[in-house]
Symmetry: none
Subunit: 220 residues, 2 copies
DNA sequence: CTTGACAGTGAACAAGTTTTCATAGAACAT
DNA sequence: ATGTTCTATGAAAACTTGTTCACTGTCAAG
């Protein structure tokens, strides 16, 4: 793909930004005004260049109608594979969740000796959505939860709250964050590993629940 | 929010689908042709109604220029979606993934008849980190990918990129976003549903890849 | 020194598009 | 019965917008 000149990429960026902000493409005169061109033809030339260089596709005659970045494509195919670009607005902006480090899903003392397991930090409170719970993400190390379909390398989303019987929780045990299922039997509380090879119920005296695992993110 | 009449929501769906497929809005005449109106004014009236009901915002006088009201589709999901963290972990990368709507994991024409499946809108181009990939989240509807451990109700994180053979991609087929595995056999491209009950290979002539499914978010 | 790509002005045209006006039947509630 | 909303037609007006033509200038490469 040919290189874009400074102005060309500036115009392309402006166009994309306009789409992101307004959800529709700018007209040639919009671009003209933005860059203070005295003629629409200046824009027109740039658009032609952008199209020739393959980063923009115009729809002849149609107003405010473009496609962006026919991204390049699988060489051995004739089909055009286009990276989707376009307006937004239907999108629900989600708040972000800080990634906190790793969590041990094994026995409390069963993890890597070297300080691989990062200690948990306080969740970052994002300014945008204060109503959102202070969730955070933890990467799972270990295999104690594989029967609950939580595997080594997965990431779990932890949210604060009061765990119920049966919830999978992130609990701090012996200075170690572990991921287990919470089991209450009478007045006693246990942590249960979801792995047949592990002791069924681990009694817990001092339990610091750091949050409830609400969802798990798995790489595909 | 007032209820939409059947035709109104049909028009709205068509418009959104047009954006998803072409990345720009349809003109009034486009809509007129699609619905075989004899007059542009029929469309005009519907657009006025859509605007009055608050689901669409027109930009007076501007061609192919609209904004859509955000759909309050999934507030319960907002707590469980995180930004996909790439291989470079430990970097506490903030930033959010817009939730784009639903994706059909069934056959292209196998989705709910009423416009339940929201058409995909463009990812937001965030101003802060332009270098970050424009990821977005989609909720999966359908069961065509259950053998790949992607179930109805899961949320997939889609990222733009060049799909390889074997990647699970979000592809636009018949105006419908579908989630399938990309299979290349010689010079042909297929989409494969990961469900034994579905036809094994669906040949694809026109393929618009909207992104590659990088990870899946599952509720616990 | 010429050639070609790049960048621009200024004006005008043609087509694309939205918008308005006048009109009217069907469904429905008052 | 009557008004209102929804839906639609048909034509025209008015505006927006892409496109073209003619012309000028800069700058680096051959």
């Amino acid at each position: 793909m040919e290189e874009l000149t400074k102005k060309q990429s500036a115009i392309l960026e402006y166009m994309k930004g306009h789409v992101a902000e307004h959800s529709y493409w700018p007209s040639i005169r919009d671009i003209q005004a933005k860059f203070r061109f005295a003629s629409t033809n200046a824009v027109f030339g740039h658009l032609q260049a952008l199209e020739r260089k393959g980063v923009l596709q115009r729809i002849p005659g149609a107003a405010r109608a473009y496609k962006v970045a026919p991204v390049a494509l699988v060489e051995d195919l004739s089909e055009t594979i286009i990276r989707y670009e376009g307006p937004d607005e239907n999108a629900i902006q989600l708040g972000s969740i800080p990634f906190m480090g790793s969590i041990a899903a094994g026995l409390p003392d069963y993890t890597e000796s070297s300080g691989v397991v990062a200690s948990m930090q306080a969740p970052i409170t994002e300014g945008s959505r204060r109503r959102a719970p202070q969730s955070f993400a933890l990467r799972v190390r270990g295999d104690s939860m594989i029967d609950a379909d939580i595997q080594d390398g997965d990431t779990v989303i932890i949210e604060p709250g009061h765990p119920k019987h049966g919830d999978i929780v992130a609990a701090l045990i012996d200075g170690q964050t572990t991921l287990k299922r919470l089991v209450k039997q009478g007045s006693k509380t246990f942590l249960k590993a979801e792995n047949a090879n592990y002791p069924d119920l681990v009694p817990v005296t001092e339990l610091v629940i750091q949050g409830i695992a609400k969802s798990v993110v798995k790489p595909i």
